[in-house]
Symmetry: C2
Subunit: 728 residues, 2 copies
C-alpha cells in the first residue's frame, strides 16, 4: 500500500485526542445508577461474596492475581478482541506457558494455577496436555509408563494431546476406525488410518503444537489362526512430530482443522496415519495388556466400573464451569441493564432503566437464579465425585448407575442452560450486546461447544431417561430405587388421578415444598409418559435400542430434563441451608474445585451465610422453580394431568411476577456477590463502575481498522472509484 | 520470525499431497445417502423449486450467476472463513464495488443486482449507501436535493451512510442528543455532539468508508424571543470526510467501533461533532422546511402517516430475508443429518442416519416448516406494502394502525424464529457444526443482529400488543376490528367458559381448521390475559405507558407472539392454495422482492404447484401449527382455559409425532426445492453431493495456520521450551 499522501500525522494525533474533549458532560451519570442499586440491596454483599469465593482470603487472592496478571505481557487483554487467528494461537500459547512458568517460579499450587487460567481466560494449545494427556497417563498408564512419561510431561519436554474423535465418529466411540495392528516380529504396533473418515479430527493442540498424542485405535492382534482379531479401541502414546524440527514424522499427516465458532486460540487438528510404527510399550497398559507374543490380557472386571471416575469428574467440572460462566454473563447484562436507560415515560422525565421493564427482569432474574443453581450443583457434583472415589476404593459400585445417569443429564441441562443463557443475556444488552467489546459474543461462541463435547447433550439425556424408565419399570415390578429418583417409589400415589396440587393462592407458591412437589409431579409424569410412549412403540415391552427407542426420543429427553430440574431445585435449597449453617463454602472461580479445600476460611474459620442473604437466595430458588414450571413446559404437564387447576396456574404466574418485583432491588448486589474482577469480564458493558459508554469508546479506539484515519481500503480500492474533489 | 532450519519444502510438499492418498476407501459413501433420500421423495422437486424461485428462468439465472460469481476475484469464497478483520473489510468492499461495476457494465436490473448481492453474501461498507442513504434522499429530499445528490450517489462519487443511533440512544429516537442549531447570520446549521452519549455509534460504512452521512439531529431554531426552540430530530446531509484525502473534516471525529459478533466486513462507525457547519440546504426538506430566516415550516399532516411506507417496506424485507436465511440453515443441517451416521443398532450393522433419531427430526422438520412459513409471510408482507402504497396514493390510511401492529410483531417473531433456528440447526450438526467450515457459525453470528436492529423485538411486540389490547377493549365497547385481529370480534363467544376444542382423535389435528381454531383460541386468550394483567395494574383502566405498562410486559409480549403465529399459519395455507391455483410465485432468493415482478414465469406462463407438492406443504403447515402449540406454550394456555382436554392434548402430541414420521421421507427433497447453490451455502456439511468429510478436509487445508508445517509459534515460542531431541 502506498504511503499516505499528506500530513496524516497531525490528523492521527487529532484522533488520539479523546473525543471526550469536545464533549461537555454526559447528562446521565451511569455510575450513579450502580451506586443507587447497591444502596438498595437488602443484604450484605460481602457476606455472600465470601461464601461464594471460598472465603475472604481466596477472594482477596483472586483480586490480587487479577491485578498481577493484567500487568504481564501475556496476560494483558487490551488487544484480545482484535487478534487474527494466528495471533490468537500464538498469544494463547504464550499465556499458557506464562502461567506454567509462574507456577514453577513461584511454587504455586495446582488450584492457584487453575485460578490463574480462569482469570486469563485464553485457552490455547496446552489445554489437552494439561486436561487429557497427563490425566490419561496417570489413570491409564502402568507404573513404568508413568515413570517414563510424567517427567517429560511435567518438564514440558513434550506436549501431548488426546486423539479420539475421527471425522466420521464422535459420540459413538465403538465406531472408531483407526487401527493399531501388532507386528510380533518387530514387537511394534502399526498405527493406520484405513479410510478418510478414520482421520482424527478435533483434538485440541494437535494442529501445530503437540509433539505426542494418546491415540485411540482399534487393537488388532493375531487371532492364532493366521488372521487378526479386533479387540476394540485402546489408547496408545504416539510421537507425531520430530523433536528437532517440529515437522510431522514420516507416515503422519497433520494440520489445523480451520477456524471454529470460538476457541480461536486452540489449534484443533486433524491427523491421519500411513502405517506408522510405535514400540509395543507405548500401548497404555495399566489395565488391558498385550504381551510381547501378541497375547491380549484383558483388564480386571472391576476396571470398567472404576474407569467411570474420570468421566464423573469431567462432568462435575463441566457443571461447575457452567454456573461460573453463566454468572459472568449475568453480571455483565445485569449491570448494563441497570445503567442503560430507554424511553422516557413523559416529557422532561428521565429515561427508565432497562431493568425496570418487566420482560428484561423476566429474562435476567431467572438466569441469575440459574447461575446460582448451577454453581451449587457443580459443588454438589464434586461431592458426588469424592464419594464415588471413596466407594470405589472400598469396592462398592452400587451407586454407579444412578451417578452415571444423573451426571449425564446434569451435564446436558446445565450446559444448555448456560449456553442459551449467555445468548439471552447478550440480547438483553440490545445493540451494544452485539459488539464484541461487550464480552458476550466471545463468551457465547467459546462456551457453546459444551453442549456437544463430552457427549452430545441429547445423547446424554437419553442415558438419563433409560435409567429413569428402567427404574420406574422396576418399581412397578416391586423393586425400590435409591437416590435422586427415589420419588419414583411413590409413582403410583403421585400419578393417581386424584392427586392434586396443594397450593392455595399466590403465597403458597413461595413455599419450597409446594414448588418442589409440583416439580416432582411433573418429573414423575414425564417419566411415565416416556415409558408409555416407548411401550407403545415396543409392542408393550420396553425395548431400549433400535427403532422403538430411537424413534421415540422426544418424550425421553423431556423426562430427563424434568428429573434434572427437580434435582437442581433440591440442591439449591440444600446448599443454602448448608451455607447458612456454616458447613463449607463454594468456589465459583475455578472449575477444578476438587483440588481446593472446601474449608478455606483461614484462621477465622469458615464464613457463614447471614440470614438476610440466605432469605434472598431462597427467593431465587423459588423463582428458579416457578420459572422452570412456567417456561419449561412443566405447567402444561401439570394441567393436562389434572394435578393443577386453572386457578392454581394463575396464582403461580402471579407469584412468579411477584418474585421478579421482589428480587429487583437486589439484582445488582446478587451479581456483585460473584465478585468477578473487571479483568476477567473484559467487558465494556459489565464494568463494576458502570461507565459503559466511555468503556466502549476507549476500547473501540484500539480496533486495528483505526490504525489509520483513512482505513485500509482508501488508497487501493476507494480512491480509484471516488472522484478526487474538495468540498462539494 | 527466523527461517525454518531444515528442508521444510519437501515436508510442505508432503502436506500438499492430499491425505486421501494414504486412504483406501471410505466405507460409508455419503453421496449414496442423499441419492437414496432423493429417491424417497413423494413429489417432483422441480415442481416446487420453480414455484419457490420465481419460475424456471429465474432459477436457471440464479445458478448461472453463482457460476459466474464464483470465478470473479472478488466473488471467490475459498478464503472467506480465514480472513482477518482488515481483509474482511477490504474484501467485502471489493465485492460490493465488483457487483456495482458488473451491474453497470452489463446493464443488469436492480433485481439482478440484488440477486448477486445475495449470492456473494458478503456485506460491506456500501450497505447503508444502497440501503439507507439513497432511499432517504429519494424519500425525504426535495426535488432540488434529489437533483443535486442522486447523480453523485449513483455515480459513486460519494458514499453515504445513515447516522441515527447514538451511544446512549437506540430504539427511542426522541432521546437523540446531537443538535443542529441554525445560525441565521451565515445561513448554516451547526452540528454538534453535546455529550459523550450523543456520539453516533453503529452506522454501517461510517468507520472508514463513507464520505457523507445523513445525520439525525435535533433541529434547534430561534424561538423569536432570543432563545432556541427544540423541534426534535430531523435529517441533514453532512459531508464528513475530505474528498481528496479521505481524512475526517475538521470538527468531525470518526472511527470504527471495533469487531462485532459477525458482520466483520462492515465498518460500523462512531462519530462526534465539534460545531461542524453545513449549509442550510443540507437539511432534507421534502416535508419539514426551514426558511433562510430560520422559520420552521412543519410537514403536511398526512406526511407522518405516509412516511410509514419505508418502515413497512423494511420490515417486509426483513421478514422475507428471515425465511431465506432459515432455509439456508435448514438445508445445511438436513443434508448433513441424512449423511451423518451415528451409533450402530447392533454388531455388524450400519450406523443410523442422524435424521432417523426422533429428536433430530423433531428439531429440523419444524424448522423446515418455519422456513416455508416465513418465506410465504415475507411474500405476503410485500403484498401488504404494495397495497399500502396504493392506499396512500389514494389518501386512505384506515389500515395503517393494523399494518403497523402486524408488521412490528411479524418482524419480531420471524427474526427470532430464524435466529434461534440457525443455532438449533448448528447444534444438530454436532461437533462439525461448531466448525466455521459448516457455514453455520458465520450465518448465525451475522444474522442474529436482526433481533435487535430496526426496533428491538420486545419493543416491537409491545407495539403489537398495544394494538391488540386496544382492539379487544374496543370490541367490548361495541366497536368492530378489521383485518388480522378480526377474530377478536368474537372474543365473547371464543372465551366463554363452555368453549371446547372440536378435535376428536389424532387425525382431527391434521385438519387445518382444527389447528387454526386452537391457535385462534390461544391468541384470543393470551390477549385477554394481557388485558386483565394491565387492567389490574392500572386500577381497572388500561394505561399504556409508565409503570402499569412497563411492569407488565411479559403477558403483552406473549399475546403479540400468539397473534403472529396465527397469522403465519393462515398465510401458509393461503399461500399453498394460491400457488396451487397458479396465481403467482415466490422468490426465496432476494429479500428485495418488491423489485421483482411476481409473475416471472416467462413465455410459458406462471409455474403451478402440483397436487403432490401441495399436499406435502400442507403437512408442513400442520406441523408448524402443532409444534407452535406444543413447544410455544399454547398448550398450557388451552389446557388452563379448559378449551382442550387431556385426551385432546395427548392426541395432539401423537399427531405431531406422526407428522414427523410422515414428513421424514421428504426432508431432503423439501430442502433441495429451495435450490440454494453450493456457492451460496459455502458449507462443507451442506454440499448438494453429500461429500461432507472430503469437504471438511479440503477446506481445512486452506487454514492460514497450515501455511507452514510447524506453525507460527514454533521458532519463537515452542522451540525455546521443548528440549531439542530426536525420537524419544
Amino acid at each position: 500500500m502506498a504511503a499516505p499522501p499528506r500530513d496524516v500525522d497531525a490528523r492521527t494525533a487529532a484522533l488520539q485526542r479523546p473525543a471526550t474533549e469536545v464533549i461537555l458532560k454526559t447528562h446521565t451519570e451511569p455510575s450513579d445508577d450502580l451506586a443507587m442499586e447497591r444502596r438498595k440491596a437488602t443484604f450484605d454483599v460481602n457476606d455472600l461474596s465470601y461464601v461464594l469465593n471460598g472465603g475472604k482470603e481466596q477472594l482477596e487472592k483472586k483480586m490480587r492475581f487479577a491485578e498481577v496478571l493484567s500487568k504481564t505481557s501475556w496476560g494483558d487483554k487490551s488487544r484480545r478482541y482484535f487478534l487474527t487467528r494466528e495471533e490468537e494461537y500464538v498469544g494463547a500459547l504464550k499465556a499458557a506457558l506464562g502461567i506454567w512458568e509462574k507456577m514453577k517460579s513461584e511454587a504455586l499450587s495446582l488450584s492457584d494455577g487453575a485460578l490463574m487460567r480462569t482469570l486469563v481466560d485464553f485457552p490455547g494449545g496446552l489445554e489437552l496436555h494439561i486436561g487429557m494427556f497427563i490425566p490419561s497417563i496417570l489413570s491409564q498408564g502402568s507404573a513404568e509408563q508413568q515413570a517414563k512419561w510424567m517427567p517429560l510431561c511435567m518438564g514440558l519436554k513434550i506436549i501431548g494431546t488426546y486423539a479420539q474423535t475421527e471425522l466420521g465418529h464422535g459420540t459413538f466411540v465403538r465406531g472408531l476406525e483407526t487401527t493399531a495392528t501388532y507386528d510380533k516380529q518387530t514387537q511394534e504396533f502399526v498405527i493406520h488410518s484405513p479410510t478418510l473418515t478414520a482421520t482424527k479430527w478435533w483434538p485440541g493442540g494437535l494442529g501445530k503444537t503437540s509433539t505426542h498424542a494418546i491415540v485411540m485405535a482399534r487393537l488388532m492382534l493375531p487371532d492364532g489362526g493366521g488372521g487378526v482379531r479386533d479387540h476394540g479401541p485402546h489408547g496408545f502414546v504416539v510421537q507425531i512430530r520430530d523433536m528437532d524440527t517440529h515437522l510431522p514424522l514420516q507416515g503422519v499427516t497433520i494440520g489445523d482443522i480451520g477456524p471454529k465458532f470460538g476457541f480461536g486460540g486452540v489449534d484443533n487438528g486433524f491427523m491421519s496415519f500411513d502405517h506408522l510404527r510405535i514400540p509395543r510399550d507405548n500401548m497404555l497398559m495399566r489395565f488391558a495388556k498385550v504381551t510381547p507374543e501378541g497375547v491380549y490380557v484383558p483388564p480386571p472386571p472391576s476396571n470398567s466400573k472404576a474407569s467411570y471416575a474420570t468421566m464423573v469428574f469431567v462432568r462435575a467440572d463441566i457443571v461447575k464451569n457452567s454456573g461460573s460462566v453463566l454468572a459472568r454473563a449475568v453480571t455483565i447484562a445485569t449491570r448494563y441493564a441497570a445503567v442503560r436507560r430507554q424511553t422516557a415515560p413523559g416529557p422532561g422525565q428521565r429515561e427508565l432503566q432497562v431493568l425496570d421493564y418487566q420482560n428484561c427482569a423476566a429474562t435476567l432474574l431467572p438466569l441469575l437464579a440459574s447461575a446460582y443453581a448451577l454453581t451449587f450443583m457443580g459443588e454438589d457434583m464434586m461431592g458426588m465425585y469424592k464419594k464415588f472415589e471413596a466407594d470405589r476404593d472400598a469396592g462398592r459400585f452400587e451407586g454407579l448407575p444412578e451417578l452415571h445417569a444423573l451426571s449425564s443429564g446434569l451435564k446436558a441441562l446445565c450446559t444448555w442452560t448456560a449456553a442459551d443463557g449467555i445468548e439471552e443475556c447478550r440480547r438483553t444488552c440490545g445493540g451494544h450486546g452485539y459488539s464484541r467489546l461487550s464480552g458476550l459474543p466471545t463468551l457465547f461462541a467459546s462456551y457453546v461447544q459444551n453442549v456437544t463435547w463430552e457427549g452430545d447433550n441429547n445423547v446424554l439425556c437419553l442415558q438419563t431417561a433409560r435409567y429413569l424408565i428402567k427404574a420406574l419399570a422396576g418399581v412397578k415390578a416391586g423393586k425400590r430405587v435409591e437416590g435422586s429418583a427415589a420419588y419414583l417409589n411413590d409413582a403410583a400415589t403421585e400419578l393417581a388421578p386424584s392427586r392434586r396440587c396443594a397450593a392455595a393462592g399466590e403465597a403458597c407458591w413461595l413455599r419450597p415444598e409446594v414448588a418442589a412437589a409440583a416439580l416432582r409431579h411433573a418429573a414423575a409424569r414425564s417419566c411415565a409418559t416416556a415409558t408409555e410412549t416407548l411401550a407403545a412403540a415396543s409392542g408393550g415391552r420396553l425395548v431400549f435400542e433400535g427403532a422403538p427407542w430411537n424413534s421415540n426420543t422426544v418424550d425421553s429427553i423431556r423426562a430427563a430434563k424434568a428429573h434434572c430440574v427437580l434435582v437442581l431445585h433440591a440442591t439449591f435449597l440444600d446448599s443454602v441451608a448448608r451455607l447458612e449453617a456454616g458447613a463449607g463454602t463454594i468456589n465459583i472461580n475455578t472449575s477444578t474445585a476438587a483440588a481446593l479445600p472446601s474449608s478455606s476460611g483461614g484462621a477465622g474459620g469458615l464464613p457463614r451465610l447471614g440470614a438476610a442473604a440466605a432469605g434472598v437466595l431462597r427467593q431465587l430458588a423459588a423463582l428458579f422453580a416457578l420459572d422452570s414450571l412456567e417456561r419449561g413446559g412443566g405447567l402444561a404437564v401439570l394441567l393436562e394431568d389434572g394435578y393443577m387447576s386453572a386457578a392454581q396456574a394463575g396464582a403461580l404466574r402471579r407469584a412468579h411476577r411477584g418474585l421478579l418485583a421482589a428480587l429487583r432491588p437486589n439484582a445488582v448486589a446478587l451479581v456483585d456477590a460473584f465478585a468477578f474482577p473487571d479483568y476477567l469480564l473484559h467487558s465494556a458493558l459489565g464494568r463494576a463502575d458502570g461507565d459503559v459508554y466511555r468503556g466502549l469508546l476507549d476500547m473501540a479506539r484500539g480496533s486495528p481498522l483505526n490504525d489509520t484515519q483513512e482505513g485500509p481500503a482508501w488508497h487501493e480500492v476507494l480512491r480509484p472509484v471516488l472522484a478526487a474533489r474538495s468540498r462539494l
